[in-house]
Structure formats: structure tokens, C-alpha cells
């Protein structure tokens, strides 16, 4: 489903019809709820799979691959690099919000880098190192540790759990069975705001 269509549908559910000029619930407002609604769906899916099969995993349909992410030096630590992720990966397990990271130049793509958890990266410095480049994320920044090879000229290819790029005309990256949960989550949050009594009198008092 297209993001714009989903948002329009939610707004029509809230208003019971097409909104008028007076509407205060706008498409931009609904869109701010989409990432957290998608995150709820992903977490629920992972929990259900763990309960049913004993293995925590997320279906392929929740993943998106982002390409040509620019890499730059981290700035303070020699040999560390970083790039900006489209969003903060969903907090699945230690770092399962990101499925794979590769480096790419004009002609070649690397083997997948090995994902570290944030509490293991510095400990790893003291240990014999496996072949390859470790990476980890902090928030929406993906870090790389490559003390011997300058990877600034590469771009990153990241496969991570995501609802897509969230542009209005893009396809939302969620399978249909999870759309009701997302719609209900957003609709309930906004309906609650409509039920609150508002101060319609301009009298200097913040009172209903």
C-alpha cells in the first residue's frame, strides 16, 4: 500500500469521512506515528515467532536494503568510520535490527561485515581479530573499525528492518496482515487526542 493511501485512510477513519478545511489532524501528523507503529508490528511479530517456534526472527517482508550510504571518518578515533542510517534500527535482540552490512565501490561488493554489539566492540580490541571489518550501530549512526584500510571511498549497503523510506508516494514496506495493527495504533492515538476537551475560549486562562 502506498504511504499516502494508508495515511488518507487513517484520517478518514478518524473523521468518519473526508476531512474538511478545519481539520487539525494532517497527513504530516499521521506520518510521524508511522515509524513507531511499524516498530510495534515488528516487535509483536518477533515475539510471536519466539513464542511459537522458540526462535526470534522477523519475516523477510519487514526488511529493506539501503544503498550508497556515504562513509566518513569518525573524527576522533583513528581508524573508525561512520555513516548515517535512514532511521534508528528497531531494537531487536542485541543488534538484529540490522541484518547485514556490506561495503561497495564502483565495481565490487564486499562480503558481509560482522556486526558487533556495542558492549563488545572495545573488548574485541584486546582479542585476536577475525578477518573482516567489524561494525556496530549507536542510534542511527553505523560505525566501522578499519585501522588498516581506509574505507572512506566505499559506500555502505545496509539491510535492516524498516518500513521503507516513508515518502508519500512510496510503498510502505509492511505486509498486509500487519496493516490493521498499524492503522489501529495510529487511529487510537489520534482519536484519544480528539476526545480531550480543548480550551476554545481566549480568556488568558489555561482552563476548560
Amino acid at each position: 500500500m502506498i504511504v499516502n493511501v494508508l495515511i488518507t485512510r487513517i484520517i478518514r477513519q478518524i473523521y468518519g469521512e473526508k476531512p474538511s478545511d478545519d481539520a487539525t489532524i494532517t497527513k504530516n501528523l499521521v506520518k510521524t506515528y508511522l515509524p513507531e507503529a511499524i516498530a510495534q508490528a515488528v516487535k509483536t511479530s518477533a515475539k510471536e515467532n519466539l513464542q511459537i517456534e522458540g526462535i526470534q526472527y522477523v519475516n523477510n517482508s519487514f526488511y529493506t536494503t539501503f544503498k550508497e550510504l556515504q562513509i566518513s571518518p569518525e573524527g576522533t578515533i583513528q581508524g573508525d568510520y561512520k555513516c548515517k542510517l535512514p532511521s534508528i534500527p528497531i531494537a531487536l535482540g542485541r543488534n538484529e535490527g540490522i541484518a547485514s552490512v556490506k561495503l561497495q565501490d564502483a565495481v565490487r561488493t564486499s562480503v558481509p561485515l560482522y556486526m558487533m554489539s556495542a558492549d563488545g566492540i572495545d573488548y574485541m580490541d584486546k582479542m585476536p581479530k577475525p578477518k573482516g571489518t567489524p561494525c556496530w550501530n549507536e542510534g542511527s549512526t553505523l560505525f566501522f573499525r578499519s585501522p588498516k584500510l581506509n574505507i572512506e571511498d566505499y559506500t555502505a549497503v545496509v539491510r535492516m528492518v524498516s518500513g521503507g523510506n516513508m515518502e508519500m508516494d512510496s510503498e510502505i514496506n509492511i505486509s498486509d496482515e500487519w496493516l490493521p495493527m498499524i492503522s489501529i495504533y495510529i487511529r487510537d492515538a489520534l482519536l484519544a487526542s480528539r476526545k480531550v476537551q480543548t480550551d476554545v475560549s481566549n480568556d488568558g486562562l489555561d482552563k476548560i
Binding site: D21, T26, N28, L29, Q197, V200, N202
Partner: protein
């Protein structure tokens, strides 16, 4: 469609039928103007039926197609408003009430090509709209109502399209004076009611009620109220 002369004859007939005197053409012209504005105010939405926390009238602009149909003689093609560098634009001279305000699609030649709404905001909410990171005013313009003008934000908006309810051109029973000094209807100097035929009954009922009150004639007032309560 009845002419203003037909309307005037009907009013005179009703007044005389109830043996409650007569009404002059000057009085009729004055009263029909007031009746039109009264009916217009009723259709746009009177504040007398507002309730605490629910400022909605029983009959109001936008209720349904019937109300829109009744007001249609006074809703013209949206006009272009020129906004100065301070975000100001004067009211159209014949405006009674705003129907809607639109952004203009600068790249389109069509006068009907709109690119979004411009929302009305009261002064006490201006700060929260100007400070909104979700719907920035630059892409989601707003307007306030001030004395004889609109104040738009962003100030650089440039222009807008306004759909509004126009003030009706006052109906006038025009006349010439005959050899005996009597006023004789003259269509050339007259102005008919611009309302639909059904709505003219509502206006005349209001005229009759005012006359009845003036003549202290309960029968006339009751008759007018019956028309209003039961419909045409």
C-alpha cells in the same frame, strides 16, 4: 421566478387579508433588505443555538447540499486575493463570510487549479502554528481575520484564492409616479430577489413578521411564524 412586484403584491395581500393596514413601498424595500440579511445569517449559522463546548449552530454553512443550494446565488467563482509583503490582504468589498481559502498553483494557468487549503487560525493559537515543526507554516499557510483584512502567514505567500458568501444586492421595488401621484411599478428601476424561488417564501415570511410586530398584529405574526415553522 417571481418578480419583486409579485413579492410585494403577496405581502400586501396577506397584510390586507388580515385587515391589519397596509405597507408602503419604501417600508417594503427597507424590510426586505433586513429580511434577506436575517435569512442569510440564519443559513450561515446563528450563534444563539451554540452550547457550552459545542459552538455549532442547528443550521449552518456546510451542513448539507440543501444549505449549499440555498446559498449558491451568493457563492461565486473563487477570487484571487493579492497579499502584500506584510502578509495582508483586504476583504473583498461584498464579502459576508469566508467559505474557504486556497493556495494558488503558481505553475498552472487554470483559475481553478488549487494546491491546498489555507487554514483559519485564531490569534491566540498563532504562536503554536508558527512554532509547529510537523506542519511548518511555509508549506501549510494560515490566515487570521483582522479589521477589514486578512493576515496571512508566511508573509511571503503572495496570493491566495478565496471562496466567500457575497452580500446580496438589495431587492428594490422601483416605481414611477403616475398622473395621480400613485407609485406604479417600474421593472427597469427594480431589483428582484436573487434568492431561489423556495427561499423567497422564507424571506417574505420574515418581512411579514416584522410588519406584524410593527402593526402590533398578532394574527400577522402568527401567520408568519406558521410559515416558518411548517415550511413553505
Amino acid at each position: 421566478m417571481p418578480s419583486i412586484d409579485d413579492n410585494f403584491k403577496l405581502v400586501k395581500y396577506i397584510i390586507k387579508k388580515n385587515l391589519n393596514g397596509d405597507v408602503s413601498d419604501a417600508s417594503f424595500n427597507m424590510l426586505v433588505k433586513q429580511a434577506e440579511l436575517s435569512y442569510l445569517s440564519h443559513l450561515i449559522g446563528g450563534t444563539e443555538t451554540y452550547q457550552q463546548g459545542r459552538p455549532i449552530s442547528r443550521v449552518e454553512l456546510g451542513n448539507n447540499q440543501h444549505i449549499a443550494q440555498k446559498l449558491s446565488p451568493f457563492i461565486d467563482t473563487p477570487e484571487l486575493l493579492t497579499i502584500d509583503s506584510n502578509g495582508n490582504a483586504v476583504f473583498p468589498t461584498d464579502m459576508i463570510a469566508v467559505n474557504a481559502m486556497f493556495k494558488v498553483n503558481a505553475t498552472s494557468a487554470s483559475s481553478r487549479d488549487y494546491s491546498g487549503r489555507i487554514k483559519w487560525v485564531n490569534q491566540d493559537r498563532l504562536y503554536s502554528y508558527l512554532d509547529d515543526p510537523i506542519d511548518p507554516v511555509a508549506q501549510n499557510p494560515i490566515y487570521l481575520i483582522e479589521k477589514n483584512k486578512f493576515q496571512f502567514y508566511p508573509l511571503s505567500l503572495g496570493n491566495a484564492k478565496i471562496s466567500y458568501i457575497k452580500k446580496p444586492v438589495s431587492a428594490v421595488w422601483g416605481y414611477t409616479v403616475d398622473a395621480n401621484g400613485r407609485h406604479v411599478y417600474n421593472s427597469a428601476t427594480s431589483q428582484n430577489l436573487a434568492w431561489g424561488e423556495i427561499d423567497q417564501v422564507e424571506i417574505l415570511a420574515r418581512v411579514i413578521r416584522i410588519i406584524g410586530v410593527n402593526l402590533n398584529a398578532a394574527s400577522v405574526v402568527n401567520f408568519a411564524n406558521e410559515i416558518k415553522a411548517a415550511g413553505a
